[in-house]
């Protein structure tokens, strides 16, 4: 299962301790220290290790050891060789994120405003599929998208298959599996809750009387949505986008199980390089991916500050 999950944001911080009432003194540091040390050793230091590994001389190996030569060449090599996968990852992740917004927004909206007493049930229903191992679920998609399955039959019968072949979303024989379509579909499916939950949290905070105010002031439902609801749901939308796009860009499970050698993403490449022992190159790719992501997160922080992050 990949990361994200903002179920806790569903809880409202009603009477948060205001900054003036927070206790000063050393207790704060003491409480913080164990966790920070753990994060320090197992998140920060590894990132540094990763960076330094990326600068090793690729001529070494695990047995012979690596020489630290500040070999920046690694970056140029891998970016040159694997830029198609890099771009493809960004493309697939982008498409999946867009689809998640299209599918997830109505669902989040429905839960927030239209669910009434079924709200909790629907929320559980959003999270429930994730009680099954995500690998197993992705394997199910293999079954659903398989040539023998009824989905393929239906698409063939209604001629939609021809359309999909024409736009090259599916293979020439009309197979749904082992295509970009399948990979994006898998990504969308797997990350949908990470879009729905933050969106729901944002939408939930909107006073429903604002909709009434919009109607009272002559706005049609669509206009009210565009001018009132959408802007107010923006924090949730941005959070959901970050929590969907970022892990999706680094995923390789979907492309491995549902794709073909032409749909490999950067995650596949990194994993394969590690398997093959090419540590410096793999590290260089990882660092590049991480930098791209940090840039996006910094962008977000600049607009929204850090208190909303956690």
């Amino acid at each position: 299962m990949s990361h994200g999950g903002l179920a806790p944001h569903v809880e409202q911080a009603a009477a948060a301790t205001p900054p003036e009432q927070r206790r000063s003194g050393r207790t704060g540091y003491l409480l913080l220290l164990p966790a920070l040390i753990w994060l320090g050793i197992f998140f920060v230091v590894p990132m540094i290790s990763l960076a330094s590994t990326s600068l090793y001389d690729p001529a070494g190996s695990l047995e012979t050891g690596y020489a630290m030569t500040g070999h920046v060449q690694n970056y140029l090599t891998v970016l040159d060789e694997y830029s198609p996968q890099f771009l493809r990852s960004l493309l697939y992740a982008g498409m999946a994120t867009a689809l998640c917004i299209v599918l997830g927004y109505p669902l989040a909206y429905a839960i927030a405003f239209k669910a009434g007493r079924w709200k909790n049930v629907m929320l559980v229903a959003v999270i429930a599929p994730f009680f099954t191992s995500f690998l197993i679920r992705t394997l199910s998609w293999q079954f659903i998208l398989g040539d023998q399955a009824w989905l393929a039959d239906v698409l063939r019968a209604t001629r939609i298959m021809d359309l999909l072949i024409a736009v090259q979303l599916v293979g020439e024989q009309g197979n749904l599996l082992a295509t970009p379509f399948a990979v994006v579909a898998g990504l969308t499916y797997n990350f949908l809750p990470f879009m729905v939950l933050p969106l729901y949290a944002s939408l939930e905070k909107i006073d429903p009387r604002l909709h009434e105010a919009g109607a009272d002031l002559y706005a049609s439902p669509i206009t009210t949505f565009r001018t009132v609801t959408l802007p107010l749901s923006l924090p949730g939308l941005v959070a959901g986008t970050l929590l969907t796009f970022i892990p999706a860009a680094g995923d390789y499970i979907n492309s491995e199980l549902l794709g073909n050698p032409n749909t490999t993403m950067i995650g596949n490449v990194i994993q394969n390089l590690f398997n093959g022992g090419s540590y410096p190159e793999a590290a260089a790719l990882s660092v590049t991916l991480m930098i791209a992501i940090v840039v996006m997160v910094l962008f977000y922080i600049r607009r929204a500050g850090t208190e909303e992050l956690v």
Partner: protein, 268 residues
């Protein structure tokens, strides 16, 4: 607008929402369905025949139950570690003043937002650099799991704690409870649901993790790793049995929790 049109426009969002929800459950139906499958061959993708054999002999495939046991062990220990560390940190963030708040917030958020492949490879780089390349296994997996579960625990507990009225603790002290008694009798019982939710979240994250585990497991095989291997070799239907069981267990936990809390609220 016609009456039908009005009904439609009022319910279209709900309808779409329900469709999406249904879409999310489709693979689950397949998993449950396939758990009763009697496959014609190891590589078969179709439903060949109905059988209860898989349910009667779930540990038949070689190594499947060992990997399950390992996953559960690691998940339990990782949950313990992450919940303790994360709860302490949540208290610090909500109730105490200290410098470097922004840094703490950012470093707590980043593991949640980083791609697993990057986190996994950085941990691998750490272990290799520390000379532990030959000793990847249980402990390296455990350490990695605690790390990425930590952030989620912090977020969950923090949300619950932030909603706790500090005046309740002031009232307790006004009524002769010292700091210790106030914590155990007032603060802890009220934060506990958040801690519990964080523990459950942590357990499921750890149990289901593949990418990070795969890079740092050495010779050990956790359940997701087993499934991955099976995907290459041929998926035994018992995997779907276990998947179904996981789903049912988790679902029943949620249902029980909901029923208990409704009962409590309704009791006079």
């Amino acid at each position: 607008m016609t009456r039908a049109g009005k009904w439609l426009s009022e319910h279209v969002v709900l309808g779409v929402g329900l469709l999406v929800l249904l879409y999310m459950f489709v693979p689950i139906f397949i998993v449950v369905l396939m758990s009763f499958n009697d496959p014609a061959s190891r590589q078969s993708y179709s439903f060949d025949g109905f059988t209860l054999d898989n349910w009667l002999k779930p540990c038949d495939p070689n190594g499947i139950c060992e990997s399950l046991t390992l996953s559960i062990q690691i998940a339990l220990l990782a949950t313990l570690g992450a919940t303790i560390l994360g709860t302490l940190m949540a208290f610090a963030l909500v109730r105490h003043r200290f410098r470097g708040r922004a840094v703490a917030n950012v470093f707590t958020f980043l593991p949640m937002a980083s791609p697993e492949i990057v986190m996994g490879s950085s941990l691998l780089a750490l272990f290799v650099t520390a000379g532990l390349a030959g000793q990847l296994g249980f402990w390296t997996i455990l350490v990695s799991h605690i790390m990425f579960c930590l952030s989620f625990v912090v977020v969950t507990v923090k949300a619950r704690l932030a909603g706790l009225d500090p005046r309740l603790e002031q009232a307790a002290m006004d009524l002769y409870a010292n700091e210790w008694q106030t914590f155990w009798r007032v603060t802890f019982p009220l934060v506990f649901p958040g801690i519990l939710a964080a523990a459950l979240l942590s357990f499921s994250l750890s149990f289901d993790d593949f990418i990070i585990t795969n890079l740092n497991a050495g010779q050990e095989v956790t359940f997701p790793m087993y499934v991955w291997g099976a995907a290459q070799r041929g998926v035994p239907p018992q995997i779907n049995v276990i998947g179904t069981v996981m789903f049912l267990v988790a679902l029943s936990l949620v249902v029980v929790g909901e029923v208990v809390s409704r009962r409590r609220a309704a009791r006079v």
